[in-house]
Every structure is written in structure tokens, then in C-alpha cells.
């Protein structure tokens, strides 16, 4: 039995189908990347998995059917990082991280001192040490994203859903975020589903990739083991003509790089 199984999931907005018949499963310790062009249904899929969107089909985490869980139970098992957090109030970064402890607190309870210490440590872990008291609204978009990551990591959930978490991050923090995720995954039983825009990160950090096109699964690939020509063929369905190259950094670690092949020139005949 798999750690997390999704079967025959279909969802849409207002009767218009966006996702059709999505099925996949992942094992404990797996970082599953979702790749797809804009509008292919990545965000919709993550929202449906989080049960934030009405859908057909079922998602089963260990023995829990996610659709049947109340928000409180769901939040104990799963964490979610939206593309952009909707926090619009002036509150401190530490208070944002402390929100993550809500599933472990009763309605009127306040966060304990131990939780505050843990939250401050989580902020340090994502690279925001010393910024506990800063107003969340004054942080940059990337720092906000890291703050939300800290909130999600420190709450003891087993399955994370991340929607383009790297989009606002600079070069260094993109790697930092995925390394943090990989480190988080080493303590089983845990798994994460992450939608990514950057194919380089997807190819080098994810254990498995799910390719999404027009609301359907185009295929799935394992960057570590699959032969390059198969990956090239699948990826070019999403990105157009591409080729993969393997590079080695100074420490001897191999990286897969995706190169865009020249395509027919775009004739911009819109203007007269």
C-alpha cells in the first residue's frame, strides 16, 4: 500500500472541467514535482488535493480519506503553501509562523512558550533569523514565502502541498527551499507534492515528476533513472523543442540541464 494515493480525481470551476481522471500514488519520503504549462491545472490539482475545491475521486493518506476529514484533522496531517499567502494585516513574522500551531490548539487557547521557541527556530532555519518581530507586510515577497514555509514546516504535518513555492525566491533561496524540503522528508513518514515552474529544480531535486497538460496526466518520469531521450520526448510536449544535458559541478555532483532548442521565428504581425 502506498503512502498517498489519488484515484480518478476530476475537478473544475462552475461546471467547466479543469482536471480529468487524475490518478497517481507516492511513497513515504518522495518529493513529487508537478510540471505543466500555465493553465494546465497545477494549482487546481493542489487545491483539489487539499480538499479546498469540490471534486470527484478520492485522496487517501495512509488510512485517512482526506475528503472525509474536518479542517482541524486535515490540518494536522497536511500542510499547504499557496502561491501567495492572503495575509493582509500588519502582524509580526513570528505571529505568522505561530498560526501554524492552530490545529494543535483548542479554540480559545494561546500558543505556549515552547511553540514560540519552536517558531523562532523555524524562522532561523529558513534564513529569517532575527526577523521575528518584523512586520510581515514589510518583508519582500521571497521572505514572505520563506516565512510561510517556516509556518508549514514546524507544525508536524506528514504531507505538504506547495504551489510554486520558488516563484518569488532568488537564486540562492530557491535551492535553500528545496534542500529544506528534502531534509524535512528524511524523517519518515512524510511526503510532499510541489508544483514548480523551474524545470532545473524539478529535474534535480524531485524524486518523481508528474507532467500535466490540459488537465490530464501526460506521463510521469523519474529524473534519476529514466533514459534522457524518454524524458526529452515527454518534456517537449510541455516546453516545445528541448534537449537535456548533463553537467558536473566542482564537487562532482551531476546536474541535469534543460536547453531550449531554436524554434521557428515568431512573426509578430500584430502591428500593421
Amino acid at each position: 500500500m502506498h503512502f498517498f494515493t489519488v484515484s480518478n480525481l476530476s475537478a473544475g470551476y462552475g461546471g467547466k472541467p479543469v482536471l480529468e481522471d487524475i490518478s497517481f500514488s507516492l511513497d513515504s519520503g518522495c518529493l513529487l514535482g508537478i510540471l505543466g504549462a500555465n493553465g494546465s491545472g497545477k494549482t487546481t490539482l493542489l487545491k483539489a488535493l487539499c480538499n479546498l475545491l469540490p471534486h470527484k475521486g478520492s485522496c487517501i493518506l495512509e488510512e485517512n480519506v482526506l475528503e472525509k476529514l474536518k479542517p482541524g484533522q486535515m490540518a494536522k496531517l497536511c500542510g499547504y503553501i499557496p502561491q501567495r499567502s492572503g495575509i493582509s494585516l500588519d502582524i509580526s513574522a513570528l505571529d505568522v509562523v505561530l498560526m501554524g500551531f492552530n490545529p494543535h490548539l483548542k479554540l480559545l487557547e494561546r500558543p505556549t512558550q515552547a511553540m514560540k521557541t519552536q517558531a523562532a527556530r523555524a524562522l532561523g532555519l529558513v534564513g529569517l533569523a532575527g526577523k521575528e518581530a518584523l512586520n510581515y507586510q514589510t518583508l519582500s515577497e521571497g521572505q514572505k514565502q520563506l516565512c510561510i514555509l517556516a509556518r508549514t514546516l514546524c507544525t508536524g504535518s506528514r504531507l505538504l502541498f506547495l504551489d510554486e513555492p520558488e516563484s518569488a525566491l532568488d537564486f540562492r533561496f530557491r535551492y535553500r527551499m528545496l534542500e529544506l524540503l528534502q531534509d524535512w522528508l528524511t524523517q519518515a513518514p512524510r511526503a510532499a507534492v510541489v508544483s514548480l515552474h523551474d524545470p532545473f529544480l524539478a529535474l534535480n531535486y524531485c524524486h518523481r515528476l508528474l507532467l500535466l497538460s490540459e488537465g490530464r496526466i501526460l506521463g510521469s518520469l523519474c529524473p534519476k533513472t529514466d533514459p534522457p531521450h524518454r524524458m526529452e520526448e515527454l518534456l517537449s510536449h510541455i516546453y516545445g523543442e528541448i534537449s537535456l544535458a548533463s553537467c558536473t559541478d566542482r564537487s562532482g555532483r551531476k546536474h541535469l540541464v534543460m536547453l531550449k532548442e531554436a524554434s521557428a521565428p515568431i512573426r509578430a504581425n500584430i502591428l500593421p
Binding site: K70, P71, G72, C78, Y80, G86, L89, D90, I91, D95
Partner: protein, 319 residues
């Protein structure tokens, strides 16, 4: 430390206003007469001044705190009790009370029921929208507000222009005049309990301020908690407004003032919003009964005092 200083400052100001309010009015009260056991002085003090001061301070506090809650939950800096129909429901209720029943207590009860009725309709209507968005509550609020205004207009048409219509208009303008110590016990107790509830719910109120899916994934049963918070805030406002009539601007201004001063949204800021509300309402009421020979509606002065204060805070922020 900033909070403690600000809250202490506001509490001191409020205490000074409470003292001033106790000894301001048409009948000149003197402390030595009051302590000397003068019966008339004692009656004026208890029946008129003490009750009026209590309603002013606590009512202002309640309006400030509930304004903070509405603005936070609706993520709208202009949100006020009007947004879910509290004020217009209370007005229609009060008008019905003035027309069909007699006595101040009946009008209070009727206004209270009107406010709760309007909010109940709003929340029921918004529940029809299964997506459970905030905007559906706001839309339902606008519809019910319009409906309550229509009811109010019809009631005004049937009112006797000499007495009843004047009372309705006067009620809507709001005043702390005529609240008596005998009729306000229930209201103030309810108000106090709901205020305690709102402070206990502060963490949930902040969680509700985020995007709905995000709040859900943080374990918040958004629909239920929002209902709980809104009902508590509505009971708080209704218990005040049914005694005093509509009071404009306090619920809008006090929370903004508090936020501009502290620049955050912790429970201390919520308390500061309450204290500023108390200062504003009590200060306005002192002016309302001392500026001219006749008693003036308190809302004139809440706006008159409040607007420059808010503008000065905005000016300070931008500099």
C-alpha cells in the same frame, strides 16, 4: 512596551473623561453635597450621570472593539456594523417599537431584536452560497440593509409627524440622553460577556483575516468560526446601539486610530481600539450636553472630533 504606554495613556484619558462626565450637565452636582448625603444630588448622580457615563465609556469601548473585529474579518478597512445590517435593522426595530409599543424599555428590546433579526437574515441568505465566501455575506448585507431602510421608510410614513416621527428621527441620530440605571443592566452584562468572548477569540479573528483556503488548511472551520465571531460582535454592538440609537464613526475610527498608533493587530491593539472608542464617545457626549442649551445628537460630535484625529494620524504616518 509601546502598548502599555499607549493603553495607560488612553486609560488615563478615559478616567479623566469619566470624572468630567459625572459632573457635567444641566444640574450642577457638587462633591461635598453628594458625600453629605443630599438626596436630590444622590438621585441625579445615580439615575442620570452614572448610567450615562457608564453607557458612554462602555458603549464606546464596545463599538471600538467590534469595529476592529468587523474590519479584520471582512478584510475591509471600511467595514462597520452596517455591513451586515446591524444598524439598519436596529433602526427599523426601534421605529417599530416607537410606533407599536410604549416605553423606553420596549424600544430598546425592539431595536435589539431588529438588529439581530437583520443579521440572522443576512447570515441565512449568505449560507445559500455554498462557496461560503466573505463577499456573499457582504452582498446579503447590502440587500438586507436596503430592505430594512424600506421598512423604516414605511414605518415613518405611517408615523404621527408630531410625536412619533420626531422620536424616530431623534433615535436614529443617537443620544446617551435618557438611559436610566434601571433599564441598562441586561444590556451591559451582555455587552461585557461578549467583549470578553471577543478578546478570547482574538487568535481566531486574526486567522479569519487570511485567505479562506489558507485558513482552512490551518485547521479553521471557516464557516462556523466566522459565524461565532460575527454573532458575538453583533451582540456586542446591538446591546449598545439598542440603548443609544445609532452612533456614527466610533466603530470605524477607533480601530484605525489604534492600528495607526501601534502598527499591528495584537490583542493590545484591540484593547486600544476600545479605549479610543470610549474616549471618543464619552468626549462627544460631554460636548453634546454642554455646548448649547438644548441637548444635541452625539453623532455630530463623534464625527467632529473623530475626523480631524484620523486625518492627523494619517498625516503623521506619511511624514
Amino acid at each position: 512596551m509601546r502598548y502599555k504606554l499607549l493603553c495607560a495613556l488612553c486609560s488615563g484619558l478615559l478616567a479623566a473623561l469619566i470624572l468630567l462626565s459625572l459632573f457635567t450637565g444641566k444640574y450642577p452636582l457638587r462633591l461635598e453635597e453628594l458625600l453629605g448625603g443630599n438626596e436630590l444630588h444622590r438621585r441625579v448622580f445615580l439615575n442620570l450621570r452614572a448610567s450615562r457615563t457608564l453607557v458612554g465609556a462602555m458603549g464606546g469601548f464596545a463599538l471600538g472593539v467590534s469595529g476592529f473585529v468587523y474590519q479584520t474579518v471582512f478584510r475591509n478597512p471600511l467595514a462597520s456594523p452596517d455591513i451586515i445590517g446591524v444598524s439598519s435593522g436596529a433602526s427599523a426595530g426601534a421605529a417599530a417599537g416607537i410606533l407599536f409599543f410604549s416605553g423606553a424599555a420596549a424600544v430598546t428590546v425592539s431595536a435589539f431584536l431588529g438588529a439581530l433579526g437583520a443579521v440572522a437574515v443576512v447570515l441565512t441568505l449568505s449560507a445559500l452560497d455554498k462557496t461560503g465566501r466573505n463577499s456573499s455575506i457582504v452582498l446579503a448585507g447590502i440587500a438586507v440593509h436596503a430592505l430594512a431602510q424600506t421598512v423604516l421608510m414605511c414605518l415613518k410614513l405611517t408615523a404621527d409627524p408630531e410625536r412619533e416621527l420626531a422620536s424616530i428621527e431623534y433615535w436614529i441620530m443617537g443620544s446617551l440622553n435618557g438611559v436610566s440605571i434601571h433599564s441598562l443592566g441586561g444590556n451591559l452584562l451582555l455587552c461585557l460577556l461578549c467583549l470578553i468572548g471577543l478578546f478570547l477569540l482574538h487568535r481566531q479573528i486574526i486567522l479569519l483575516s487570511g485567505e479562506e483556503g489558507e485558513a482552512r488548511m490551518l485547521g479553521v472551520s471557516v464557516g462556523k468560526i466566522r459565524l461565532l465571531v460575527l454573532l458575538t460582535a453583533t451582540l456586542t454592538v446591538s446591546s449598545v446601539v439598542s440603548l443609544t440609537g445609532l452612533i456614527s464613526f466610533v466603530g470605524l475610527l477607533a480601530p484605525h486610530g489604534a492600528r495607526l498608533l501601534t502598527k499591528d493587530n495584537r490583542p493590545g491593539t484591540m484593547a486600544l481600539a476600545g479605549l479610543l472608542g470610549g474616549v471618543l464617545l464619552l468626549g462627544a457626549d460631554i460636548l453634546a450636553r454642554s455646548v448649547s442649551a438644548v441637548e444635541l445628537p452625539v453623532s455630530i460630535f463623534t464625527s467632529l472630533l473623530g475626523a480631524p484625529f484620523l486625518i492627523s494620524l494619517i498625516g503623521r504616518r506619511s511624514s
